[in-house]
């Protein structure tokens, strides 16, 4: 697992992609993390970003996805393609980006899960290209 180096340019590129595809579609917060639990990019409305403990969220999300992947293997699957939790007013979607990255999307009931899945899939190649080359 190689170290990740973020430059101002890569951060801006990733930020623009995420904002255009997700934040403008009504997503509250989108966090791009690596599978070790580091935060690469944190996009969203300012107040939402302050309210969320991004470091804890990243560590738990990375661990949760790793555990889910192991559960998949136990039942003979490579991985589960969808990891999504539904709350009363907030929902969270986890999407794999390339080999090592994870995109966490937090959104309300005004945004459909289908749209999120579609947009995350569209973003996947672009984001992986920026950080994994």
């Amino acid at each position: 697992m190689a170290d990740i180096i973020i430059t101002a340019q890569s951060q801006e590129k990733a930020g623009n992609l995420i904002v255009n595809a997700l934040i403008k579609a009504g997503v509250r917060t989108a966090l791009l993390i690596d599978s070790a639990g580091n935060v690469l990019a944190n996009c969203g409305h300012e107040q939402q970003q302050i309210d969320i403990d991004a470091i804890s969220l990243a560590a738990l999300a990375a661990a949760s996805l790793a555990a889910t992947s192991q559960i998949a293997k136990l039942i003979g699957e490579d991985d589960f393609s969808l990891l999504f939790h539904k709350g009363k007013s907030g929902n969270i979607h986890f999407g794999r980006i390339g080999e090592e990255l994870i995109l966490i999307t937090i959104f309300g009931d005004d945004v459909s899960l289908g749209l999120i899945r579609c947009r995350v899939a569209e973003l996947s190649d672009g984001l992986a290209q920026i950080f994994e080359g």
């Binding site: 697992m1 190689a2 170290d3 990740i4 180096i5 973020i6 430059t7 101002a8 951060q11 690596d34 599978s35 070790a36 639990g37 580091n38 690469l40 403990d53 470091i55 804890s56 560590a59 738990l60 990375a62 661990a63 790793a66 555990a67 192991q70």
Partner: protein, 205 residues
Amino acid sequence: MALIDLSKKEVHCKVVYYGPGRCGKTTNLLYIHKAMDEKDRGKMLTIDTKGDRTLFFDLLPLNLGKISGFDIRIQLYTVPGQVMYEATRRLVLKGVDGLVYVADPLMVRRERNIEGLEDLRRNLEKHNVKLENMPLVLQYNKRDLCDTPIPTLTVEQLEQDLNSQLKTVYYEAVATTGIGVFETLTEITKRTVRHVAEKHLLTKI
């Protein structure tokens, strides 16, 4: 795997406290959490069972000031020590940059200490990492028990069991009262940051 953010001038490293069950890994983190100023540390995250045993991991993020203009941010993790949680330990080790191996001095835990180190070696290999190539500090914890009638291992015995090949630095500690806790943390931080910095030729620290 370290994260180097050149735009914010930050280096993020992951340090994992490893060791057999009940050796005091979480106690180390709790002491650091209690002793450090709130502005220099984040929230401590713990996933434990009802019996206070770590189920998945503990996490404590720290800001350790600047080195050569870079803000050093360290995330301390612990693993569950019980033998049955090997798969969980392997997950937590993903992307590790530095390791503290905490050993238990109780005579009855002698085998567990040795097995734990072997378990660490095996789990690192599954991530294609060699233990010898990682920054590593040993901590011989619970040294206060040596003054009680409970049979304990001497430092020489621990050195022979755990450090005869690795030949890394060790610290004696009493994590409940903080003895040796910050010495261990300072040393592993220095070694980890140096390792990451040299790897990326950021600077010679």
